[in-house]
Structures are given as C-alpha cells and as structure tokens.
Amino acid sequence: MPQITQRICGVCPEAHHMASTKALDDLFHVEPTSAAKKLRELLYSSFYVTDHTTHFYILAGPDFVMGPDAPPAERNILGVIAKVGLELGGAVIKTRHDNHWVIQTIGGRPIHPCFGLPGGVSRAINEEERAKIEEIAKSSVEFGKLSLKVFDDIVLKNKEYLDMVLSDTFTHRTYYMGLVDENNKVNFYDGKVRVVDPEGKEFIKYAPRDYVKHLAEHVEPWTYLKFPYLKKVGWKGFVDGKDSGVYRATPLSRLNAADGMATPLAQEEYERMYSTLGGKPAHYTLATHWARLIELLYAAERMVELVQDPEITSTDIRIIPTAKPDEGVGIVEAPRGTLTHHYITDERGVIKKCNLIVGTTNNYAAFYMSVKKAAEDLIKPGKKITEGLLNRIEMAWRPYDLCLACATHSLPGQLPLEVTIYDAKGNEIKRLSQGIE
C-alpha cells in the first residue's frame, strides 16, 4: 500500500507513503525502532522543503512576484527567475534538486520512495550520506531564511499587496486543523490531530484511530470530490463561523491550531507573523503563503536536528511484525492538509477495505467559499473585467495548493474555471474561462 497509494499523488507521494506506512504499523501492531522513525521524519522534513519550495516559487509566487495583472506568458516560474534574478532562481532549483537527492538516498527513489515497511524502513544511511544530508539541511535553513526575506521585500513591504492580504475579500472565519506534538507544537510526521474553533480555542484533539468519530464527508452531485466537516458541529452548507462544521487544514491552519513551532528560528517567525497579522488565529487566506514559508524554515531546521542525532546512522531499522494484521489508521500532515489512511485486512494482511481523507479534500468547502467571496467582492457594476481580475479570483484558491487529482481519487488533473458575469436582469455580459471547452 505505501507504494500503491502514493501513486495517486506524485506531487506529495512521500505524504501518502508515510501515512500508509504508519497505517501498516498500526495494522500489524508493530512499533518501529527509534532510528527508523527518525529516518522517516528526516525524509519527510526534506520533502516538506522541496514541496513548499515548489508551491511558493512555481505555483503561487508568480502572482506576487510578477503581479496579478502580468500577462499569463510571464506569470510563471521562468518569469519569476527573470525578475528575481538567476541567483535566487538557481537557489530554488538547487534546493529542490538537493532535497530530491536526500529523498532518493533515504527513500530509495527520488519520486515515489520505496523504503517504508511496517515496523521500520528498508535501508539505513552511512556516515558519508549523513554528512552530505547535513550540508543540504544547513543550506536549506539558509534558503528558508532567504525565502522569508523575499516574502518580506515583495509582499510585506508593498502596501498594495499587504492590504490585499488583510482585506475582507480574502478572509474566512473557520475551524482550523493540524497535527501537534505532545507540547502542542506543529508536527508533520506524528502526534494528535488538534482542531481549534474560530476564536482559537481547542475544540477537539484526537488520536488517529478516532478520526471516524470526528469527521464526516458530505456528497454533492456536481463534483467528484466530497466535503469533509466536523461531525460534532454538522454540515450547514458553504458558510463559515462557529456554527458551521467547515474547517481548514492548510499551513496557516496548522499554525493556528498549534501553540508554536518546535524549532527556534521558525518560532521567531511564527511570533512575528501573528504580531503583524494582529493575533491568533489569523483568518486571512492569503497569509497561508507566509505560513508555508515558516513551515519550510521549520522543516529545514528539523532536518538539521535529525541529521545531527547520533542514532540517525543506526542499522537498527526494522522490527519484523508478528501479530495478526487487522485494521490500522495512519495520519500525517501532508503539505496540503491532514492526511488520513485507514485500512482493513483479512488475516493474511490483504486489504479488504480502504478509506482515505486526503490533504486537499479537507479544504474543499472553504475553497468554494473563498472563490465565491472574492468574485462577489471584485466584480462590481461598471468595473472593467480583465484577465487580472480573473487571476485575483484564482488567487483566492491558490493558497490551498489544490491537488484535485489526489482529492477526487479520479485523476482528472486540472481544475476548470469559468466566470460568467450577468447583469442585474440576468443577461450574460462576459464570460472568462480556463480548462473548459
């Protein structure tokens, strides 16, 4: 299953691989060795560095760096490189490339790793590999710091952008979800799922096996994707607030749901972000990009901690399961949200039933709400309708870092969008579309 389920998402295969491997630990009733857990988390932290880099610079960054009104042909990674300079562009490529090397070294392959087994991992690392990973970890910390500076210079120091981040157009008050460690600090690999209410108070905190008690999924006929919500609050439709079971599970949600970051530099940035945004929780959807960069820095710092751990080169990496397999749940934080894998097997360990709630799915209701609100606020009578406007509406959902192929499990790949503008009498006056014939 770790090798099959990851192939529903090649953008975050490591997340599926890890949730699946943890579900197998649970299913086979086996506790991995300490060194195996550290190797898994080291790979996972390295993966976070690459994934958040991809999202910020390639998927979301072009909006901010090039500006929302830039022509589509420039609003992309090549445009970003042209504007910020080859040096930073080179650092982006190098960070991704180096961390893919780390993933391959620990996980066996650069994309779709193969190292996860119930009770441990398939391969240990040697001192030479460890030393190289340490070097990459340290340079990833520098890259994390640099990326936060880029965000400072381009977004925070630009009043127009900052106003946009803080505007009501891109704001929703919802519940927030994220995995936390025993000190309620953000953790990507392990812990309990914590949900805070729109005021920031802890609403629930559950162990993986209890996910069915707390989550349910609503079905609509016009989409292949389901809408998870908090069972105790209930499905009230596409609305925010305390009485609606809609929650979000994004980088910003994880920071909202936790009491802080477990590493020093990320903690400093965490405090700075909330003081700039006026306290916790922050409801500004566009601030998700900022939270993502703080997570990138945390992941890099965590890499350094793990790779310097004397146990990391231990060869004590496998426990052979002996108990009868039956049922297991594994949860990790995928970059796009809390990821739950749940399997039921027969006594030979052959999967009979499977249920997944994947990262993007968590945010599906909120995503529609964000698009609707942005469209309602931005399209006004007499206002010229431009490609830039369409892009501002797209900017309402890009923070969610949607991965719809993964979320629908049906792999259609791309999100179609059509904005049809009607006048007050219901006559169509303009239509803008993408991904639609």
Binding site: C9, V11, L24, H112, L117, V212, A216, P221, I320, A405
Partner: protein
C-alpha cells in the same frame, strides 16, 4: 534555428511525471534555450482555448502523461494529437495504465458505491452520486464523464514514442528530450530508455541459482544485503521489467515492482513474470507447488500492478 514548440499535458496521472520533468534540474534552463513550452497546465498559465486556436501539427512534440479515465482526458488526447507532430506517451500511466488502471479490476458503479456511499466517513443517506450534468439555480453544471474502463494513450490515439517509468527517472527523461533537441529521433514506436534488457542486467546484487521453496512479502524478512532478492523469495519483478532506472529499488533492499514496463519484445509483462516464476519454483510435486504459489496473496494485482489496461486481459 527556430525554437522547438513543446507541450506537456497530464490526464489521469498523479502529477509525479510533472515533478519528474522538473527533476531534470538545471537542464531545464538548457531546454528553455532551445524550446518554447506552449502548453503546460501545471506550470504555465495557458488555457485549453489557447490550444484549440493552434494550427494542426504546429506543436513539435507533446509529452503526454496520464491514462485515459474521463471524457476530458480523451478529448485532450485527441486535440493534442491533432496539434502535435510527435506524440510521446510519457510515463507508465499513458504507456500502460499504471495504478489508475488497477480500477479495471472493478467498474464505475462499484468504484462510485465505495467512494460515495460505503466508506465509514461518508454521510450520504440519499445515496447521491456525481452526475455529468446537474441543474442548479445559476444554470447547468457539467462534469467530464468517468469511464467504466481505464485506457492507455496508445489505445486512444496514435503514439510515436514511449518514455517508460513511474515516473521516468531523470536520465530517461533527458534521453528523450535530447533526442528531440538534437533531432536524432529513433524509429517510430521506440520505448526510449537506456536499456532494452531487464532490470536484473543493471542490478548489482549477486545472482546464483534461482530455486525457490517459499515466497515472502517484503515485511516478513530482512533480506541479505548483496544477494538477488528473487533468490531470497521476494517477488522482485526485475527479471520481467525493462531496465534504465538503474535498479533503484533493489539497491534500497526492496524488490522491483515493475514500473518500467515489459522488456523489449514482450507484450504482456504479467504473463512474462508468471512464466519466469514458474521456472524457478523448486518442486515437481503439484501439491507443494500449489502451497508455494499460495504465498502470493494477490497474484493479479501483483503481476499487473502497472500494466493491466495494456495487458492481454485489459480488464477483469
């Protein structure tokens, strides 16, 4: 020399092929010098309408990843075929159907019932299923049709070249891109990889005599570090899988799972592996043979993990 026009598209795929394209690292800048990417939904902000406006055969090459699972996938495969001089099935999904193709063991109805009605978190008392057309107050909403059977790209349009792998390794991708850039293209139908032989050929593990009394699943044993995994009873698919990946999985102490597809000249990878296995089972006693084979708990899913839609079976 005019710059090449290249399109990249994903259909029913996981996105790993997109990441694999980016994994060529700084060679991507080399590519940008000689080629313009005219369509790439993941990375560039061009729309379907932009492709429709292009003249037929105006794209030099299209790297198409993903299987054909929905009507949208099929439409885009046909559209991009018409607009492209060279159509490349990039990655295992477009080549063989891959993991999405495993749903050919089921059909649309059983898939939908499981996903939208049965799972323990689904709350759907009215048993609502996704529809291709739904009337809402604002108008009619459409969804692409979800087909009963997953097909490969080659079963949908004419394909010129294949780049194997789930996903293709960096060096395999570059081998294909270099052929495009230099114009030194192999004969039509070529599977572009560094090897036409099996993964075993490039695997550093020591091979002796393969005689197997018992098969194990990867979690059941810690394999010896240098000896052939198949000889140790692990179902390593390397013997029936095209090389070119560098035997990455066996070097991480895990068996090859077959993602580079069949070796040159073989049509059905699963049948090939099965025949290889039958020759190494160390017994002539039918009862004992049966017992040994019973250790393989999911033979169809194991032997056709990546290739069910492209196999002689196609679906079950």
């Amino acid at each position: 020399m005019a710059k090449l026009k290249v399109a990249l598209y994903w259909a029913a795929s996981c996105g790993g092929c997109e990441i694999a394209t980016l994994a060529i690292g700084d060679k991507i800048l080399k590519l940008a010098e000689v080629a313009d990417i005219v369509f790439w939904p993941v990375g560039l902000d061009f729309k379907y309408a932009d492709v429709e406006k292009m003249a037929d055969n105006s794209i030099d090459a299209c790297l198409f990843n993903g299987a054909i699972r929905t009507s949208e996938n099929e439409h885009m495969a046909k559209l991009l075929r018409a607009k492209s001089k060279i159509m490349i099935a990039y990655g295992s999904c477009s080549y063989e159907g891959c993991i999405p193709g495993l749903s050919n063991f089921y059909n649309r109805q059983t898939t939908f019932e499981r996903a939208y009605i049965e799972t323990p978190t689904t709350d759907n008392p009215e048993k609502i299923l996704p529809q291709t057309k739904v009337k809402v107050p604002e108008g009619e909403l459409e969804l692409p049709e979800f087909y009963d059977t997953v097909k490969t790209l080659g079963q949908t349009v004419d394909v010129d070249y294949i780049v194997p792998g789930c996903p293709p390794e960096e060096k395999t991708t570059w081998l294909a891109l270099e052929a495009l850039i230099t114009g030194k293209l192999p004969p039509k139908g070529t599977v572009i990889s560094h090897s036409v032989k099996a993964v075993c050929d490039e695997c550093p593990r020591k091979k002796e005599e393969k005689k197997i009394k018992k098969f194990y699943r990867p979690y059941e044993i810690v394999p010896e570090p240098e000896r052939c995994l198949l000889e140790q009873g692990l179902l390593c698919y390397g013997v029936a899988t095209r090389g070119g990946c560098g035997a990455l999985c066996p070097q991480a102490n895990m068996p090859c799972t077959g993602c580079y597809g069949p070796v040159e000249g073989v049509i059905d990878q699963g049948a090939h592996f099965l025949s290889a296995l039958s020759s190494i089972i160390d017994s002539n006693d039918p009862e004992e043979i049966q017992k040994i084979i019973d250790d393989i708990p999911d033979p169809a899913g194991t032997f056709y993990r990546y290739s069910l839609p492209d196999s002689l079976l196609r679906r079950v």
